[in-house]
Amino acid sequence: MHIELQQIHKRFGKVEALKGIDLKVSGGTIHGLVGENGAGKSTLMKILTGYLSSSGGRILLDGEAVKYGTPAEAAGLGIGMLYQEPQDFPPLSVLENFMVGRDSHPDGNRARQRKRLQGLAEKARFELDPDTPVEKLTIGERQQLELLRLLGRNARVLILDEPTTGISERQKERLFQALYQMRDQGRTILLISHKLDEVSSLCDRVTILRQGRVVGEEEAPFHISRLLELMFDQSHQEPVPRPDSRPGRAILDFDRVVARGERNGLHQCSVTLRQGEVVGLAGLSGSGQGLFLRLAAALQRPLEGEVHSLGHSHRGRKHSAFRRAGGTFLPADRLEEGLIPGFTIQDHFALARGLPAHKARETAVEAIDRFNIHGQPESPVDALSGGNQQRLQLSLIPEDARLILLEEPTRGLDVSSGEWIWHHLLERYGTTGAIVFSSAELEEILAVATRVLVFFDGRVVRDLGSDQLDYQHIASAMTGN
C-alpha cells in the first residue's frame, strides 16, 4: 500500500509538535524514520495509527484521502503497529492471543486457527508453541507473535517502533528476514529506530525528522555520518575518554551468590569490583544482569552466598543503608521504578534529599541548570521526555556516591543524550567510585567499560579486562558459545 502524508500538523496546547510533515512511502519498501528524541516520530506514527488526531493535513492511502480517529479504524484500513512493549495478554496462550479480538480472523475454530498460526509461523521461520502461555515467552518471542497476529489479519502497512530493543541477536536476524519477506510480498514497512546501523542495513529509504519537520530524505546506500549530521544540530561528539586509573579498593563483592528472579535466576556468582572500574554487564536481556544490580543495591536478598558493598555485608541490610553508605541505583524503567509520576522535579529533591520546600526548590533550580533538564521546578516528571527524566535521575545521585549501579542507562535515548550522560558519569564518578551498568547495546559497553561481565542464563560466563574486549568474542559468549 502506498502512503502519503500531506502537511501533517499537530499541536499540544502551545507546543507545535509537528510543523507540516510531508512523507511518501511506496508499497513494497522498508522506510526508516529517524530523529532525535522529541523530533516528532512517535507523534507522527500515533497519528497514522489513529491514536491521535492531527491538527491539520491529509492522509492518503493508495492515492485516496482517508479519515479515521481510532486505532480500530486504522486497523480496518490495514495499518498495524508493532509496539516497543508487546500489547498482548500474558496469561493466555500463544494460540489464544493469536485468535483474540474482533479485528482478527472470524473463524473461531481452534484447530483451523492453530493450522493458520503454524502456517504463518513456518513461513516467517518463527518457532512458537501455540499452547505456551505468553507470560513464559521472551520479549523477542512475544514480538514474533504480534507480528504473526498483524499478518493474520492482513495488515498491509506495518509500523515498527524500536523493534530490536531487548531481543537476542538470533531473534533479530529472524525478524529482519521476516521483514524482507513481507516487503517482497508488497507490504509497506515503516521503521522507527535509534540504531542507525540497523536502519541503514534494513531500509530502502530514510526520512530524517528534526523538531517536527522533515529535514532530509536519503536513499540506500546510506552514510551514517550524513544521517547523524541531519539528525543533530551540533556536530557529533567524540566518544568519552576512559579514566585510566588503576583499580583501587574493593567496592562490591559477590561471594558464591545464588538468587531467584528474572528468567533463570543467578547461579554461583563470585566477583569483586573495585574503585575506578567501569563495569559493563553484557548479555541478552533477562540473563541475570538486572538481578545482579538489584542484589548489589540491597533491593533483593540472595538465597545463598554473600554480598558485600562499600565495606558492609548485605546481611539484614536495607537499601536505605546502602544509599547512606554511598551507593545508588538507577532502574531502567524510569517512570515505573525510578521516579514518582505526578511529583514535580522539586518534589523529587525534597524526597531524595530530605529537604524542606524552599531548599528543594533552590536545589531543583540549580540541578535544572547544571544537568540541562528541560523543565521547571514545578514540572511533573511524567511530562518530561525520556532524556530529561534520565538527567533528573542522575541529578538526584549524591555527589559523594561511590558505587553507581545503572540499569540500561541510555535506553530509549538519542545519541547525544546518551553521550552527555556518559560524559557526566565518567567525569564525576569514574575515578572516585565504581560504575556498574547493564546495556543491551554492546557498542555502548565497548565504548565506555573498562571491564565486562558477560551473562548467559543466569551465570557470569566471562570476566574480561580492558585488553580483552572484542565485539565478536563477547557477542558469541552472550549467546552461550
Binding site: L299, K318, S320, P331, E336, I340, F343, A350, L351, P356
Partner: protein, 344 residues
Amino acid sequence: MKRIRQHLTDILLILGLVLLFTSLLLWMVKAPPLEAFQNLLAGSFGSWSRFTRVLNVWIPLTLCSFGLLYAFRTGLWNIGVEGQMVLGAVGATWALRMGMESGSPLLYLGLALVSGAVLGALWALFAGWLKIRGGVHEIFAGLGLNFVAMGLVLWLIFGPWKRAGIASMSGTQPFPIELWFPSLPGWRVSPFAIALTVAVILFSFWVLNRSRFGLNLEAVGRNPRAAPLYGLSPRQYMLAAIAISGALAGLAGMLQVSGIYHRLIPAISSGYGYLGLLVVMLANFRLLPVPFIALFFAALNVGSIQLPMMMQLDSSLSGVIQGASVMSALLVFGLRRLRAGRAE
C-alpha cells in the same frame, strides 16, 4: 486563576446534574421538587437547634473523611472505616464502663478518647497486616472486618454488657451525665468536640500538604515500586497511614458513644464510614473541600428527617442526593481527564 475557574465550573456542573436528576426523580413520584428542597433546607438550617444537629453529624463524618484521606494518600482503599469506628466506640464504652463507679470522670473520658483511637487504629492495622502479610486486598479485608465488628457489638450488647434484666437493641446501660462528652450549658453540640475536629483538620492540612511525612506518604501511593530507592518502606508507610485512618475513625466512634448516644448501640456508626468515602470521592481526594462537603452531607441527613412528616416522602432522599452528587462528580472529573488525555 484558570484553575479556580475550572473548579467553579466543575462545582456548578455537578450541582446542576444533581438538581436535574433529583428533580426528575421527585417529579416521577409526583412530589413537587421545589418544596422538597425547601424542606431539606429548612430542616437543616431552619433554626439553631437544627443546625446543632447538623454539626453533630458533621463531626464524626469529618473525622472519618480526614482519616480516609491519609489512607488514600498511600493508595489504600480503607473501606474498613465503618468497622474501625465501631471498634472505637467499643473501646470508649469499655473505658467509660470502668468509670461508672469512679469519682474522676474526666480521667475515664480521657482514657475513652485514647482507647477509642487505639482500638480503631488496631482494627485498621489488622486490615493492613492482612494486606501486607497475607496478600488480602484491603477492600476485602476491610469489608470483612466491618461485619466482624458489627457481630462483636451485637455480642457485647446482648452478652457481657447487657443491661441489667433486659438485653435489647436499644443498647447498653446509659452512662451517667458525668461521663458524657463535656459540653457547655445550653449547647446541644459540644464546642470541645468541634474544637477537636477543627484541630484534626488543621493538623491534617499540615501533615498531608506540608510535612515530609505527608510527601513520603504520597510518594508511596504514587509509585510503591520506586519508593525504596528513596529510602522509604512502602509497607511501613501504608501501615502508618491506615493506622491513622483507623485512629480518627475510632475517635469518631468514641464521640458517638460519649457525646451523642451516651451508650453503645448496634447502629453506633450510623454509616458515617461509608458516607465518608463518598465525601472524599466527591472532594476528588483533595483536603480543602472535605469539611464543606461533609457539612453539606450532614445537612442533607438531618434535613431529610422531617420529609416523611411534611411530604410523605422517605428520608432516603438524602442518600439519593448524596449518591447522585458523587456519581455526577466522578462523571465530571472523568470527562475532564478524558479531555485532558485527548489534548495530549
